[in-house]
């Protein structure tokens, strides 16, 4: 199996059922999706469309109820460092300094101290964290924390980055600069990225393909390829045409979400 033909992620008929208050909620149903190595894919949809559930399944935190899910040719059976996750809540270890956070994955993998130092040093520089190496996470802004979280997963050199609304809690300017930084890193390091967001513009700005998901049960509604050269200009007519198309798709699902919330049977 050559790396060029084997998808980084392959989902076939992935279904996920949760028990919620005595009822069964089908969070994901019939998900078929291939992500090519080095591809940047965004999962887009309203709250409750199962995009985070799908990401958690790929990460191995919460396995599918049925269907097949493979990553790098192997069935997903649990979390692993080859599928590194960046969380919306950063999930930095607050008792460790920036430097120790970044070094953690290498440390537990038993990397030699010299190599560890070099890798951490390079990442601190790459992400503009060198002056903050001895700070604790509580003393950093949200944007800086997310840089540390990105450096932390880059340190273990995972071929895949799974990102769960990583920039959702940031202000618009910080978000844009982190998006650009992520694209730079992605292009340089040739990572496969699966990026969950409910930001329509964000998804078109970043992704090779935008996977629009349906509201409950979460299925793939449509996959929209974004064939615009990077860096993309959100003010350009092409960008806006795509944005109109994707917005229409997402708003159909948002309407179903709202109808569901308004109905008395919803919890």
């Amino acid at each position: 199996m050559s790396a060029a033909t084997e998808p980084a992620i392959r989902a076939r008929g992935v279904r996920k059922v949760f028990a919620s208050g005595g009822r069964e909620v089908v969070a994901l149903d019939g998900i078929d999706l291939d992500v090519a190595p080095g591809e940047f894919v965004c999962l887009l949809g309203p709250s409750g469309c199962g995009k985070s559930t799908l990401l958690n399944a790929i990460a191995g935190f919460s396995l599918p109820s049925s269907g097949q899910l493979t990553a790098l040719g192997r069935p997903v059976t649990g979390p692993g460092p080859e599928r590194a996750m960046v969380f919306q809540e950063y999930a930095l270890f607050p008792w460790m300094t920036v430097e120790r956070n970044v070094a953690f994955g290498l440390e537990i993998a038993g990397a030699a101290p010299e190599r560890r130092r070099q890798v951490v040093e390079a990442l601190l520089l790459k992400l503009g964290l060198a002056d903050f190496r001895d700070r604790f996470p509580k003393d950093l802004s949200g944007g800086m924390r997310q840089r540390v979280a990105i450096a932390r997963v880059l340190a273990i050199d995972s071929p895949m980055l799974l990102m769960d609304e990583p920039f959702g809690a940031l202000d618009a300017l910080t978000r844009r600069s982190l998006q650009d930084e992520l694209l730079r890193i992605w292009a340089e390091l040739e990572k496969t990225v699966v990026f969950v967001t409910h930001g329509i513009e964000e998804s078109i700005y970043l992704a090779d393909r935008v996977v629009v998901m349906t509201y409950r049960p979460g299925t793939v509604k449509r996959i929209v390829p974004v064939n615009l050269p990077r860096p993309r200009d959100p003010a350009s007519p092409e960008f806006n045409a795509l944005k109109r198309e994707v917005t229409a798709l997402v708003m159909e699902e948002q309407a179903r979400h709202q109808a569901d919330e308004a109905s008395p049977t919803a919890d």
Binding site: A59, F61, G78, P79, G80, P81, R83, A84, M85, F87, E89, A91, L92, F93, P94, W95, M96, T97, F104, G105, I108, A109, F136, P137, K138, D139, R152, V153, I156
Partner: protein
């Protein structure tokens, strides 16, 4: 600068006023010194209690040993040693058990009913058993102090492990951490704010229990000394001993507070 001087002044107003009133009452002869000795008498007694009983002799050993040869330094040392040993035993048992009970629901189910029944029994209530089991001397004191330290450390450790945010565990697993790494590198540090609270409370209880234990089971230490002084009607020495106990407690708590601040400087609740 002026602000801190003013603060110092304000913090001294009430204690100084109290001392003056107390001295005034004693000077006026309203109360017999047996019931309430004057502050100056207490201070004089405290000084006598603190300083060496023998004159200095260069041949007997280094000067600092002589300087610490008074009754009070030796009592303080003895009491602190008992706290240290008793606390080490109590916390040394509570910490691993608490970590296990917090991390493993089965262990919690097995031990929790027993602990819930034992926990409300004050360590003081174990005194008769302690003497029956261990006789007199240090062993019953160690037993009582370790009991006093055990439960605060245990309960806080359990709570701390249970309160560890699942996202840290997820993140660590995702980075490739195994169960062992998770336990040592994630759970314990994440639970540390609770554990240190338990240790601080445990040391406080150990300090209370050591005084009581010394009144019952031994004939050295601060607790024994104030009881002995009462038998001779040395009320000035009783109060001097009490003040020493207070100062030791304050010192221990300040030390714990600084240690906690140092270890938890990453924590949100602590000022950087």
């Amino acid at each position: 600068m002026a602000g801190s001087a003013a603060r110092l002044f304000r913090s001294l107003v009430v204690p100084v006023a109290l001392l003056l009133v107390w001295e005034g009452i004693s000077l006026a002869g309203w109360v017999t010194p047996l019931i309430l000795p004057s502050p100056t008498a207490v201070a004089a007694r405290w000084w006598a209690y603190l300083t060496p009983m023998e004159p200095f002799e260069a041949t007997a050993g280094p000067w600092w040993r002589w300087a610490l040869s008074g009754e009070l330094p030796s009592d303080v040392f003895t009491s602190l040693m008992r706290i240290a040993v008793g606390f080490a035993i109590g916390a040394g048992l509570a910490l691993p058990l608490g970590l296990l009970m917090g991390a493993r629901p089965l262990v919690h189910e097995l031990f929790n009913p027993l602990l819930q029944v034992l926990r409300p029994i004050p360590p003081i209530a174990y005194i008769p058993l302690a003497i029956l089991w261990f006789g007199l001397g240090n062993p019953p004191a160690f037993f009582l102090i370790s009991l006093g330290a055990f439960f605060p450390v245990l309960m806080n450790t359990i709570a701390g492990v249970r309160a560890v945010d699942a996202i840290y565990l997820r993140a660590a697993r995702n980075l490739g951490a195994g169960e062992w790494t998770l336990f040592w590198r994630v759970m314990i540090p994440a639970a540390m704010p609770y554990i240190l609270t338990g240790i601080r409370v445990g040391v406080g209880v150990a300090f209370i229990v050591v005084i009581v234990a010394e009144m019952i089971a031994v004939n050295t230490g601060l607790g024994y000394r104030i009881l002995e002084a009462r038998e001779y009607f040395w009320s000035d020495k009783v109060i001097a001993g009490m003040i020493t106990i207070g100062l030791c407690g304050l010192g221990i708590d300040l030390g714990m507070s600084r240690l906690t601040g140092r270890l938890l400087r990453w924590h949100r609740g602590v000022e950087g």
